[in-house]
C-alpha cells in the first residue's frame, strides 16, 4: 500500500468562498520524512489548502488524506498526527509562554507534571527559558513564532504544517527557523510548509509545488523548478567602463554566451550556467588588467518562476531571461 508511505495526499481539493474559488482542484503528494514546500504569492490559496489538510476548514470538493486518514471523516485521528503552526501566532497572548505550553500539554493528555516538564524542555530547545514567565505581549515576532512552533511539537506529531514560518522575520531569526525545521526532519517528522520565498523553498524543501490562483501550476524539486526558469545571472560592474568591450569578449570566451551591457554604463549581466566557470573568468580579467567595482550573482526570483510558469508576473520590475531581461520581460508578459 503506497498510501501509508505518503504523509499527505490531496486529490482535487476545492474550497469556494462566495464566488471566489480560493482552492481550485489542488493535488499534492508528500512522502513521509520529507520537507515539502508550497510556494505561491499572497492569496494563491496556500493557507486555505493547509487549513483543509489540517482539518480547520472543510473542503468543498476533493479528498485530503493524512497518513491515509481522511481529513473529514477521520478528523480526530488526523489531529492526533499533525502539528499546525499558523501564519499568525496561535498562542494565547494573555498568558505566559510556559502557561501556554502547559495548557496545550494538558489538552493533549499529559499529566500536570509531564506537561510542565515538556514545556520546560521545549522552551529550552527554542531558547525561550528566560522569557518563560513573561507575558507574550512583550515577545518579539521571532520569539512568538518559536513559541508557536514549540506548541506544535508537544505531541511530537509525525506531520507538521508550517504556514509561512518566516514571513516578517529578520534574516537572523529566519536562519534560526530554518535550522529548527531541518532538525525536525532529522527526527523523522514530515514538514509541509508554505512560503512566498523561492529562496526558502530552495533551502528547505525536497519537493516544491508552485500554486497560483488556487491551482498547482508546477511541481518538482527545486532544481527542476529553477531549470524551468533559467539560470542565475552574474552581474559585474567594471571600474573602467571603457573596458567593457574586452570584458564582453572574455565572457563570451569563458561562458560561451553573450553578456549584456546594461544601459547604465559599466554594468554587464551574463547568464551563469556553471558557477565554476566564474573563477576562470575572474582569472582572465586579472590577466587582462580589468578591474571590478562590484560583483554579484542574481538568482532566479519567485517573480521569474511565476512569469515563466504562469505567464503573468507578480510584480513588474524584474523578470524574464537573463541575457536581456528587461526587454524580454515585456515580451513574455505581452
Amino acid at each position: 500500500m503506497t498510501s501509508t508511505e505518503l504523509a499527505v495526499e490531496a486529490e482535487g481539493l476545492v474550497k469556494v468562498f462566495g464566488s471566489n474559488r480560493a482552492v481550485d482542484g489542488v493535488d499534492l503528494r508528500v512522502a513521509a520524512g520529507t520537507v515539502y514546500g508550497v510556494l505561491g504569492p499572497n492569496g494563491a490559496g496556500k493557507t486555505t489548502t493547509i487549513s483543509m489538510l489540517a482539518t480547520l476548514l472543510k473542503p468543498d470538493g476533493g479528498v485530503g488524506r493524512v497518513f491515509g486518514h481522511d481529513v473529514v471523516k477521520e478528523a480526530n485521528i488526523v489531529r492526533q498526527l499533525i502539528g499546525v503552526t499558523g501564519q499568525y501566532a496561535s498562542v494565547d497572548e494573555k498568558l505566559s509562554a510556559n502557561e501556554n505550553l502547559y495548557i496545550f500539554g494538558r489538552l493533549l493528555g499529559l499529566s500536570g507534571k509531564q506537561a510542565r516538564a515538556k514545556g520546560d524542555e521545549l522552551l529550552a530547545a527554542f531558547g525561550l527559558t528566560e522569557a518563560a514567565k513573561r507575558p507574550l505581549a512583550k515577545f518579539s515576532g521571532g520569539m512568538r513564532r518559536r513559541l508557536d512552533l514549540a506548541a506544535s511539537l508537544i505531541a511530537q506529531p509525525p506531520l507538521i504544517f508550517l504556514d509561512e514560518p518566516t514571513t516578517g522575520l529578520d534574516p537572523r531569526t529566519r536562519g534560526q527557523m530554518w535550522d529548527t525545521i531541518r532538525s525536525l526532519v532529522a527526527t523523522g517528522s514530515t514538514v509541509l510548509l508554505t512560503t512566498q520565498y523561492l529562496d526558502e523553498a530552495d533551502q528547505l524543501a525536497d519537493r516544491i509545488a508552485v500554486i497560483d490562483t488556487g491551482k498547482v501550476v508546477a511541481e518538482g524539486t527545486a532544481d527542476q523548478l529553477k531549470a524551468s526558469v533559467g539560470t542565475s545571472s552574474l552581474i559585474l560592474r567594471l571600474a573602467d567602463r571603457n573596458e567593457s568591450g574586452e570584458a564582453l569578449r572574455l565572457i563570451a570566451e569563458v561562458f560561451g554566451v553573450q553578456g549584456t551591457p546594461s544601459p547604465e554604463a559599466g554594468r554587464i549581466t551574463a547568464p551563469m550556467s556553471n558557477p565554476d566557470a566564474v573563477t576562470d573568468l575572474l582569472i582572465r580579467f586579472r590577466e587582462a588588467g580589468i578591474r571590478l567595482d562590484e560583483f554579484s550573482v542574481q538568482k532566479p526570483t519567485l517573480d521569474e518562476v511565476f512569469l515563466t510558469i504562469t505567464g503573468h508576473g507578480v510584480s513588474a520590475d524584474e523578470a524574464g531571461d537573463d541575457s536581456d531581461f528587461e526587454d524580454n520581460a515585456a515580451e513574455v508578459r505581452a
Binding site: 513521509a32 482539518t55 480547520l56 480526530n76 489531529r79 498526527l81 501566532a89 494565547d92 497572548e93 489538552l107
Partner: protein, 277 residues
C-alpha cells in the same frame, strides 16, 4: 541555537489512534479550558471589576439612593436591605454572565482558537470550559454582594445556610442565562456587538422586575411584566431563602425557567459553535 530532542518521532503507522473523544476526555479537556479561563482572569484583573468593585458600588449606591423613598423614611435603610440585597445580587450576577459571550467571541477571533481546533480534543471543550470558569466569577460577585450587605447592616434570618442556598440558586440561574449570551457570542460578528445586544436584553430584564421597588407601585402593564419576569421570581425566591421564609413556587418557577433556557440555548449554541469549531 535550537536542539530539538533527538528522540525519534513515532511513525504514524505505529500510533494508537481513535476517531472519537471519550466522555472522560471531554470532561478533562473542559476542565483544562476552565483552568485556562482562570489563569486569564488572574492575568487581567481588570476583568474582575464587574464582579468585585461593581457589587460593592451598586449595593451601597442603590441602597442609600432608593432606601428612604421605598421605606418612606428619612434615610433609614434597615427595612430596605432584605429587599434590595437579593435584587442587586440578581442584577450583578446576571450582568456578569454577559462576559461569557463577549469573551467567547474574542477568543474565537484569536489565533489560539485555530490551535484548539487543530488539537485532538473534544470540540465542545473551549465552550464548556468558558462556561465553567465563569461560575467562579458569579461566586465572587455573590460573596462580595452579601459581604457588602452585611457591612451596611443587613442581618438575614436564614443565616449562613440561607446565604449559601440563595447564592447557589443565583449562580445556577446566571449559568443558565450565560448560555443566551454564549449563543450571541458564537453567532455575532464582533465582541462589541455581543456586548451591545446583551445589554439591550439585560437592562429591561433586570430593572423591570421587583429588584428595587415593589411591583405594586408600578402601572398595571408594567406590573404585569415585572410579575411574570423570571428575574422577579429568582429575586423573590432568594429573599425568602435568606429570610428563612417558606419558599413556595418561586424556586420551582426559577429552576424551571433556568432549565428551559439551558434546554433551548445550549443546543442552539452548541450547534452554531460546532459549525465554526
Amino acid at each position: 541555537m535550537t536542539t530539538i530532542s533527538s528522540t525519534r518521532i513515532v511513525p504514524a503507522s505505529e500510533r494508537k489512534l481513535k476517531n472519537h473523544t471519550s466522555v472522560r476526555q471531554t470532561f478533562s479537556n473542559s476542565l483544562t479550558m476552565a483552568y485556562r479561563g482562570l489563569v486569564k482572569f488572574r492575568r487581567t484583573p481588570e476583568q474582575f471589576f464587574d464582579v468585585t468593585l461593581q457589587p460593592i458600588l451598586f449595593t451601597v449606591m442603590f441602597t442609600f439612593l432608593f432606601g428612604g423613598a421605598v421605606t418612606g423614611t428619612h434615610g433609614d435603610i434597615s427595612g430596605y436591605l432584605p429587599t434590595i440585597i437579593p435584587g442587586v445580587l440578581a442584577q450583578t450576577v446576571i450582568t456578569a454572565s454577559v462576559v461569557t459571550g463577549v469573551q467567547l467571541r474574542e477568543d474565537m477571533d484569536k489565533g489560539v482558537f485555530d490551535r484548539f481546533r487543530s488539537l485532538p480534543i473534544a470540540r465542545i471543550a473551549p465552550l464548556a470550559g468558558a462556561l465553567t470558569a465563569d461560575t467562579l466569577r458569579y461566586a465572587i460577585a455573590t460573596t462580595i454582594t452579601f459581604l457588602t450587605g452585611l457591612v451596611i447592616g443587613w442581618r438575614p434570618e436564614g443565616g449562613f445556610l440561607g446565604l449559601v442556598l440563595a447564592g447557589l440558586l443565583i449562580i445556577a440561574v446566571a449559568w443558565a442565562i450565560s448560555w443566551i449570551f454564549a449563543f450571541f457570542g458564537v453567532i455575532a460578528r464582533t465582541a462589541s456587538s455581543v456586548q451591545g445586544i446583551s445589554f439591550m436584553v439585560l437592562f429591561p430584564l433586570t430593572f423591570l422586575s421587583n429588584a428595587y421597588v415593589p411591583t405594586a407601585t408600578m402601572p398595571n402593564w408594567l406590573r404585569w411584566f415585572a410579575d411574570v419576569n423570571p428575574v422577579s421570581h429568582v429575586i423573590t425566591a432568594m429573599r425568602n431563602i435568606v429570610a428563612a421564609q417558606p419558599v413556595g413556587a418561586d424556586v420551582w418557577w426559577t429552576l424551571l425557567g433556568a432549565a428551559v433556557l439551558v434546554l433551548v440555548f445550549a443546543p442552539l449554541t452548541v450547534r452554531a459553535y460546532m459549525r465554526k469549531a
